[in-house]
Subunit: 421 residues, 4 copies
């Protein structure tokens, strides 16, 4: 049977960042072989980031394996320092991180809310619940930990906190594949310095400079990679394409798309539609339809639509597929409203479009990032004497407070061939 749980031999995966990763747990091996996890092989970790960093084509699957391995290392470290963590808890925490990204849509963050009006964390929970049924309740503890409902809160914090194995893995990984070496973090050292104090995850004080460097590296990766203006403009372009395609669908235009993608182009779905197993015209549930989607559905559609008779759609698609990305201006204060008006005017003239059509070609908005949050869930440091304080209160760490300001930048983008003179 397709998803039957079977006893597997341990497997070794050669990860270019973490080396040989051995996976021994039969249930984890079985989950990895599940079609829903295999799907993550076909979703890029950095979405369109590869248009700026050609090496950055790594997928969510590799990140998922890496984070699971780091969870194992973290728990082994905590155990070696005397914390009692049962084998069941360890396996559950590893399963929770293994499945944390299972609800991601194609192109990850770029298309979140665009394909279906649901955030990826909620979808991950729906997927986990379905898997839990399939695995006869054996994922219940993992689900509890994931949702923060288990009493050992530090296990949840290792999955999702300001210093969790998710961030530790993706920073190293994205740094490796983009070649932005400055984003690299000393994962090994940061994990070895973790400890538990009164059920709270803490870091030994001698690791404080490493944490500072971790936060600074993360901030650098945000501005240099994740929010890179060219990547951002490509994402805006993809969103415009999807918007135009949906609009045309609603007008009854028929056009090429894989059956799975066509369903989402023609239906607005909510998280309940995923949960309720309602059957669609493809004979599959909404969830199964979603689970058929990956980056390739979008890529093939964009390529094919580049020859579509709707000029707006074909122009947008040609620009993306041949990497003629919009120009983007990023600045510290909001973009004046006349600039946007002016650019739309130019687009209308240049491409002979209506005002409504021009809106697909000019986009503006805000991008913001905060390296560290002082308000909740702070990183805790354990001093030699045993007291535990927030990292930003440690002497010599005052600059962490400065890192907790939200930095907002304002952007506007428009077609490449329009010069601002």
């Amino acid at each position: 049977m397709e998803n039957s749980i079977y006893v597997a031999k341990p497997k070794v995966v050669n990860d270019p960042i973490l080396g040989l990763i051995e996976i021994k747990s039969p249930i984890i091996l079985s989950l990895i072989e599940h079609r829903w996890l295999q799907r993550l092989r076909r979703i890029n970790q950095l979405g369109l980031g590869e248009l700026v960093y050609p090496g950055a084509r790594h997928n969510r699957f590799g990140h998922t394996l890496g984070a699971t391995y780091l969870m194992e290392l973290a728990i082994d470290t905590l155990r070696s320092k005397g914390e009692i963590i049962s084998d069941e808890e360890k396996e559950a925490a590893m399963i929770a991180i293994l499945l944390h990204d299972i609800g991601h849509c194609p192109f990850s963050h770029a298309l979140e809310y665009q394909i279906a009006n649901v955030c990826h964390e909620d979808l991950s929970i729906v997927f986990m619940e379905k898997l839990n049924e399939e695995y006869n309740g054996r994922l219940s503890l993992a689900l509890q930990i994931f949702k923060g409902e288990y009493h050992k809160k530090y296990l949840t914090k290792l999955i999702s906190g300001q210093l969790d194995v998710d961030r530790l893995d993706y920073l190293s990984r994205d740094s490796f594949f983009t070649g932005v070496t400055e984003g690299n973090v000393n994962t090994d050292r940061l994990i070895k310095l973790m400890a538990i104090d009164n059920d709270r995850l803490v870091v030994e004080k001698k690791g404080m400079y490493s944490i500072e460097k971790f936060l600074v590296a993360r901030r650098l990766m945000y501005w240099q990679v994740y929010l890179h203006k060219t990547v951002h403009s490509a994402e805006q372009l993809l969103i415009s394409i999807l918007r135009r395609a949906k609009d045309l669908c609603h007008k009854g235009e028929d056009f090429f798309a894989s059956p799975a993608l066509k369903f989402f182009l023609t239906h607005e779905v909510t998280v309940d539609d995923f949960r309720n197993d309602s059957i669609t015209e493809t004979g599959k549930t909404v969830l199964e339809n979603f689970a058929m989607l990956d980056d390739s559905d979008l890529l093939v559609s964009v390529k094919t639509w580049s020859m579509h008779h709707d000029r707006v759609l074909s122009l947008l698609c040609q620009n993306l597929i041949n990497r003629r990305l919009p120009k983007t201006m990023v600045q510290d204060k909001p973009v004046g409203k006349f600039m946007e008006k002016y650019l739309r005017e130019r687009v209308m003239q240049e491409f002979n479009l209506t005002k409504a059509e021009s809106e697909y070609f000019v986009s503006s908005g805000t991008i913001s990032n905060k390296a560290y949050s002082q308000n909740h869930d702070q990183i805790l440091v354990k001093e030699k004497e045993g007291n535990v304080i927030e990292i930003e209160k440690v002497a010599d760490m005052m600059n962490i407070r400065a890192l907790s300001t939200t930095i907002s930048k304002f952007f506007i983008s428009w077609p490449k061939n329009i010069e601002l003179e």
Copy 2:
């Protein structure tokens, strides 16, 4: 205009292996932006290799940039040793290597001859010739060099020889992304030791141990990555899928595929069809149709066909998409014919198939590799006294001769769930 040649600002690309690569030549910048070269972004360098090495999702585009950069380094080295190479020759050699993979089909080597009955080198030449027209003959010298028709034969040898910039780049690159660190070669040193002697590319003698290591690393990469038995079995599976899809097409079955792929499923084309610009029913030439194809066309089709009513096709597709790859046995002597008969019998029973249908599920054949060829185009070593000899004749390099034996291995593969007792 889409492909107009324009003066561009130098661009810098961050390559995770080679660091910051600066591209200054306007024509090279223009070619990189051409849709035909951008297509290489969507073709994996190692095809299905990512199913075994999850990090190995790098594309032909990155390899192409890397090899072009290494060509620049090599020519700068040769110039610094007194060889006169004009700026035109340098640019042409760089263009030739930039375009050397432009004719690759999706999944590279796996589908060569399957999509169209042409080898990728021939197709690359057709693409270059079309580009040469578009660029008003400015690629003529590059074409001459590529085809080996230019009098400075060493420029051709740098593109395609037993120690060329193509191999130097892909070995380092594939080693980096797979995590098979042993495949890494000392590109920098090997290039710095190159020289020209009487119009022949030679390597200084003190580099002989580096060449030996390069050949051994290449051999290791062949058996551990390129011809890895699981990768190979996945490729056999993809070939069977394509074969079945074509067979069904010929029987008149209608089914989902992007227009570009559908053309190749329903037509047998030759290299002349590419050359002749004949227009197809999509309104595009055969070449333009081909240039629309990349890995995503195959992936979306395989996913969609996994729900096809033809059981053979859907079973094969489910196996690939969910990574239930065939088992493979590899051995030093040919597989006995009864084993294959026996396995087909088992497939017929297990899946309730006809004999003809069972053939898609069992494949056998030979894989072979030779690390070094002694017969032509040997690597030449320049001794201190100035004489030039073939590497395999250098004292202490006798083992190179052993590397020049062709090693053949015999494989057979069959569906995962069939146990051999």
Copy 3:
């Protein structure tokens, strides 16, 4: 003749951090072969740091070559951006950085002012002046640049500023050899982003996160390596040994030391003694005597003195040579005076020593560091619009101000076998 200037062939050095470094300038090649520069081969870059980081035995010679190479890269970058720098200026700037550490004493910073009462920068200038005579004035421009007397101030700033090639090299190098990977900085990128604006060294704005990371990495290296408490306690021990040895010398005790070291044990010298070429009883000038000293003189003496009949000296030496290093406490506020009294009392009892003798075994003081100085010589950032501002005034770089606080820590160290209970 020993130091004759001769025309040399270019040489290539294999640096494990920077790769193949080619040195072409004949005068630089000649200086590298000078005995005074060869001496830097025998002085560890991190002094006693190897007692904590076993890999950190790299010497000042390698650092010196590395920094000279980075100077070449920096000047090539500035030239490529249109700045006019003559070949003479380039060579002079390279010579200045090549010689910047030539006045270092054994064990570098630890013994500064202990062997002779002169700082190493002043000594480096004396050495350069003597070399300038030997090279018939060909180092005059290098000296001017080194001293900040040349009108192109940015050349001086590249040698000694808050973002100079000295720091760029030693951070990467020390990070590499200690294995403290977090200290690594993106030298290549930082140099490529340098520019000159109105005779001032500036960094392009898109490099601001890299600068932030550079400052944070430097701070981390300070606390984790350079001021590491165990390294610091070993240095205190070495200083006590030298102090005791000098004291015994002054009392007329005769004991083993190399002739060069014996001179400095028995004489107090000032910078003028170095300058004046006064001849000592060894028949050599003070400067030549100093130039005979390196780490090995101290090591052999400490080993031999570990069998000396003076118990204070032999105990101290045994502790250093066999790595029984003092315990050290480091805290944010000054050490209470009774603690020091108490520890000396314990030492007197434990080792049966007088009060005066006990002082060699307990040391206390302050160690401090400032990651960035806001008061002078700030790092300047050039914004896109062309205006130049101090890095700490750039929006989103407010935390740099926090890094400019001087952090002081207070330490006390005492013999290992005394427990504080």
Copy 4:
């Protein structure tokens, strides 16, 4: 007490190659702190190799820790494959490799047999036996394993075989510090593929290409580093210096040397003198005298002797200390005898020396290396079917036989300033 065994807390060492190494065994921690092992901190792994590769100043101490750690990994791997190895055996094997280099003299191989007429392996055994007394027989099992007297022969082979943890560590380490990246070997993979078959150490067949690469990397390191002609000529120079110094001593000349070194300059000792604890005029045993020696004794002496009134000695020492190394010619056939005669003649004229004196300046001989030995102790490969064969008999590994030829090269070296025209 100086060498008392005490219970220590686990320690972590930051190794730049292997990462964080944790040492838990109290007896191993105690041995590491022993003055005899601390001495290895002051002996370079590659002796004078740093004169060619400036980064290569790493010591035997780091190698020793690394190899001990690899032994732990190897035994953990074998245990995970079902081999029963007791904790005592594991600790003993780790101790044996920890102490395997303890008998090395200064400058390692260069001065072997020059300081005392004993090979370093024999001396290591004497040291271990003395330590075994000091540790009340707790090293007996380690000694048995080291000497090959324990019935589990594979433990001995892990210490000293054609694929042992010694070689695995030093190849990676020397590659890292020299920057000769091609010498790097995939330690992790090679260890993970080890297994035991009938009490024999074997490697799984899928590791055969990795073994081939290991042998080729080792060969490359031999010719490019260990037997590099400039390194070799520096070693010849050091040997000549020591020979001249001894000759002068025997003639009754008095001169500077540390007491420990002076003893060996003036006495010819055998392995029995080490074993018998005979007391020397320094009041120490021969063994303790030897244990006081390290690289610094030689360095300080060579520096001081560079001012000695004996012209032969001072010339030789100046050449070494200021790195004016002899020229060396290396060729595939023996050096003609007239060349040596001629060069001595030239030396006599140039430096105004007698014939006997000239012999210190010209040296000739043979250097040879064999990458793999087919005669005994071959590397065994376990095929899938379970049979075990020698690596050189595996199909596709025929070239290993070629690697088992002994390659001999012939050298002659003479003072730098004598041109051969």
